[in-house]
C-alpha cells in the first residue's frame, strides 16, 4: 500500500469509529469539545503509527485506548485542560484510569446522548446542523462548508462556538425523560430532515458534495432510528427520506430542468429504496399510535411510490393524509397540496374551493405555485380566460427561467381556447 492509500484507509476507519469514539469520550470527560479533541489526537496517533505498524485488528478499541491514555496524561501533567477541568479533578482521573482498563464497547446510549446534545435547543439551527454532521456524520469542516456553500472558516467558527456554548450552558450528559426527551428527539429529526432537504433541493446542480448530503442524512436517519427504535416518527422520517431519495434520478430532465412528480419517468425510480422506505413505514405503523408529521408525509410519498402509473395514484387517500397533516401542522403550503389532491380525487370544483381560501394568504403572496395550481384547476373547469390570467401571474412570480417559459406557453394556450 502507498502512503496515500493507507491514509485513505485510515480515514475510512475514522469515519466509522469517530462518532462512537467521541460519544464514549464525552461521557467520560463530560465535554463534547474536549472529547472531540481527544479523538482527533487519537486519529493523529493512528496516522503516525498505522502506516508502518499496520492497521490494528480492532481499530476502534485501539483509538479508544489511545484517546483515554491521552486524557489521563493531560490531567496528570496539569495542563490547561486539567486546570479547565479542575472542578472534576481527581474524580475524573480516577474514572478515566478505570476506563482505560475497561474493555467497554461504547454503548448505544452514548451515541444517543451525543446526537441529542449536538441538536440541543441552546444551539442555533445552523450550529446543530454543523455539529451533527461533524460529530455524527464524520464529515470534515471542509466537506460541510462545501456542501453548504459557505467558507470553511465560517463552519469552523460555528463549530467552535457551538462547543463553547454547550460547555458554558453546562448541558448535562444525562438522557432527558418523558416530554423533555420527546422534544429533543423532535429536534434531531428536524436537523436530519433539514440536511436531507439541503441536498435534495440541490439535486439540480452538478455539485456532488451537496447531493451527497442526502446520503449523509439517510445514514444519520437510519442510525438514529436504531438508537430510538420505539419512536415511530424516527422510522417515519427514514421512510420519507428513502422514498424521496428513490426519485432522485427522475427529478431532473436531460437538460437539467426539474421534472414534476407526475411527469417523472417512474422506471428511473430506485426500487430498492422504495422497498426499504415502505418497510420503514410499516415498522413505524406497527409501533401503533397516531401518525405524526413524518409518518404522514411518508405515507403520502408511499402512495406515489406504490403507483406504477400516475393514474393509479390513490388520490383519495393522499387527500385524507394531507387533511390529517394540515390538522397537526397547519400551513398554507400543506393546504395547497391538499387542494391538488382533492382536485385529483374529487374534481376541480372541490379543489378550487380550497384554493379560493388561500388567495389572500400572505405567506403565499409571492409563491408562484398558487396561481400556477389555480390556473391548472381553472383549465379543468373550462374557465380558460381566468386560467390565462393565473398563468401570467405565476410566470411573473417565478424565479426559474425555464418555468417562466412554460407558464407563458400555457397562458398563450389558454388565450387561444378562451
Amino acid at each position: 500500500m502507498t502512503d496515500d492509500q493507507t491514509h485513505r484507509a485510515i480515514e475510512a476507519v475514522w469515519r466509522i469509529e469517530a462518532p462512537k469514539l467521541v460519544a464514549a469520550l464525552a461521557r467520560l470527560v463530560r465535554d463534547v469539545g474536549l472529547a472531540e479533541e481527544l479523538a482527533q489526537d487519537a486519529l493523529v496517533a493512528a496516522l503516525e503509527r498505522w502506516p508502518h505498524a499496520g492497521v490494528p485488528e480492532n481499530p476502534g478499541a485501539w483509538l479508544m485506548a489511545t484517546a483515554k491514555h491521552r486524557a489521563v496524561d493531560l490531567l496528570r501533567r496539569g495542563t490547561r485542560f486539567a486546570r479547565k477541568h479542575e472542578e472534576l479533578g481527581r474524580e475524573l482521573v480516577l474514572q478515566l484510569e478505570t476506563a482505560v482498563n475497561e474493555d467497554d464497547d461504547p454503548v448505544g446510549d452514548d451515541l444517543l446522548r451525543l446526537i441529542l446534545i449536538a441538536c440541543h435547543p441552546v444551539l442555533s439551527t445552523d450550529a446543530r446542523v454543523a455539529l451533527t454532521l461533524r460529530l455524527l456524520g464524520g464529515l470534515t469542516t471542509e466537506e460541510i462548508a462545501r456542501a453548504f456553500l459557505v467558507p470553511a472558516a465560517t463552519i469552523a467558527q460555528r463549530i467552535v462556538r457551538a462547543k463553547r456554548t454547550l460547555s458554558e450552558a453546562r448541558v448535562p450528559f444525562e438522557l432527558p425523560e418523558g416530554d423533555a426527551l420527546d422534544a429533543r428527539i423532535a429536534s434531531v429529526l428536524e436537523v436530519i430532515y433539514l440536511v436531507f432537504n439541503e441536498g435534495y433541493t440541490a439535486t439540480a446542480g452538478e455539485d456532488w458534495m451537496r447531493t451527497a448530503l442526502c446520503e449523509d442524512a439517510l445514514r444519520l436517519g437510519r442510525v438514529f432510528a436504531e438508537l430510538v427504535p420505539r419512536e415511530p416518527e424516527a422510522h417515519g422520517l427514514v421512510a420519507l427520506m428513502e422514498i424521496q431519495a428513490s426519485r432522485m434520478r427522475a427529478r431532473i430532465g436531460p437538460s437539467g430542468e426539474p421534472v414534476l412528480l407526475l411527469d417523472q419517468d417512474r422506471t428511473r425510480w430506485d426500487r430498492l429504496l422504495i422497498r426499504r422506505g415502505l418497510a420503514a413505514l410499516a415498522r413505524a405503523d406497527a409501533l401503533g399510535g397516531a401518525y405524526g408529521p413524518y409518518m404522514l408525509q411518508a405515507a403520502i410519498v408511499a402512495c406515489h411510490a406504490r403507483a406504477r402509473l400516475p393514474e393509479q395514484t390513490d388520490w383519495v387517500r393522499i387527500a385524507a393524509l394531507y387533511d390529517a397533516l394540515g390538522q397537526l401542522t397547519p400551513s398554507p403550503v400543506v393546504e395547497l397540496n391538499r387542494a391538488v389532491a382533492v382536485t385529483m380525487a374529487f374534481g376541480p370544483a372541490a379543489g378550487l374551493a380550497i384554493l379560493d381560501t388561500l388567495v389572500d394568504e400572505p405567506a403565499l403572496a409571492a409563491y408562484h405555485l398558487l396561481p400556477s395550481v389555480r390556473g391548472d384547476v381553472l383549465v379543468r373547469l373550462g374557465r380558460h380566460d381566468e386560467a390565462r390570467a393565473e398563468f401570467e401571474r405565476a410566470a411573473a412570480m417565478t424565479k426559474n427561467a425555464r418555468e417562466r417559459t412554460l407558464l407563458r406557453a400555457r397562458a398563450v394556450a389558454c388565450a387561444e381556447r378562451a
Partner: protein
C-alpha cells in the same frame, strides 16, 4: 456508492455444513453493527450449489445442469449490499466480517461496486430494459 460484499463458498459450506452457534452469534452482531451504522441495505445467505441449477449456453444450445458445481472457490455463499462513502470504507467493513467459514478457514470476500443503470450509455435498449424491470418490480410489490 453501493457495494456488494460477496462471500465466496468453500468445500464445507458447499457440503451444506451449518455454521456453528458461535459463528451465527458473531454474524448477528456484525449485521447489527452494519444496521446501526446505517450502511446495510440488504443481505442474504445462499444454500449450497447442490440445491442449485445451472443453465449453460454453448453455441446455439441451452442445457440444464444440476448442482453441485465443483469450483467451490468461485461460487457464492452469500452477500451484503452496503451503502458507503468510499471504496476504502467498504474495505474497512469487509475487514470486520467474522470469518464466515470459521476463524482460521480460508475465505474470500469480494467487493464489487454496483453498476447503476445510469452508468450505461443511454440507448433505446436501456430504456426498454428499464421499462421491463419497472413492470416486474411493480407487479412484485402488489
Amino acid at each position: 456508492m453501493r457495494f456488494m460484499m460477496i462471500v465466496k463458498a468453500n468445500p464445507e459450506s458447499e457440503a451444506g455444513a451449518m455454521p456453528e452457534d458461535a459463528m451465527l452469534d458473531a454474524m448477528g452482531r456484525y449485521n447489527e453493527e452494519l444496521t446501526k451504522a446505517g450502511v446495510l441495505l440488504d443481505l442474504a445467505g445462499l444454500q449450497p450449489s447442490s440445491k442449485g441449477v445451472r443453465v449453460q449456453f454453448k453455441g446455439d444450445k441451452r442445457s440444464v445442469i444440476d448442482g453441485p458445481f465443483t469450483e467451490s472457490k468461485e461460487l457464492i455463499a452469500g452477500y451484503w449490499l452496503i451503502q458507503v462513502k468510499s471504496k476504502e470504507e467498504a474495505v474497512a467493513w469487509a475487514l470486520r466480517v467474522p470469518n464466515p467459514h470459521g476463524e482460521g478457514a480460508e475465505t474470500n470476500i469480494e467487493l464489487r461496486p454496483l453498476f447503476e443503470l445510469d452508468d450505461l450509455a443511454p440507448s433505446e435498449a436501456v430504456e426498454r430494459m428499464r421499462e421491463r424491470l419497472h413492470k416486474f418490480d411493480a407487479s412484485r410489490q402488489k
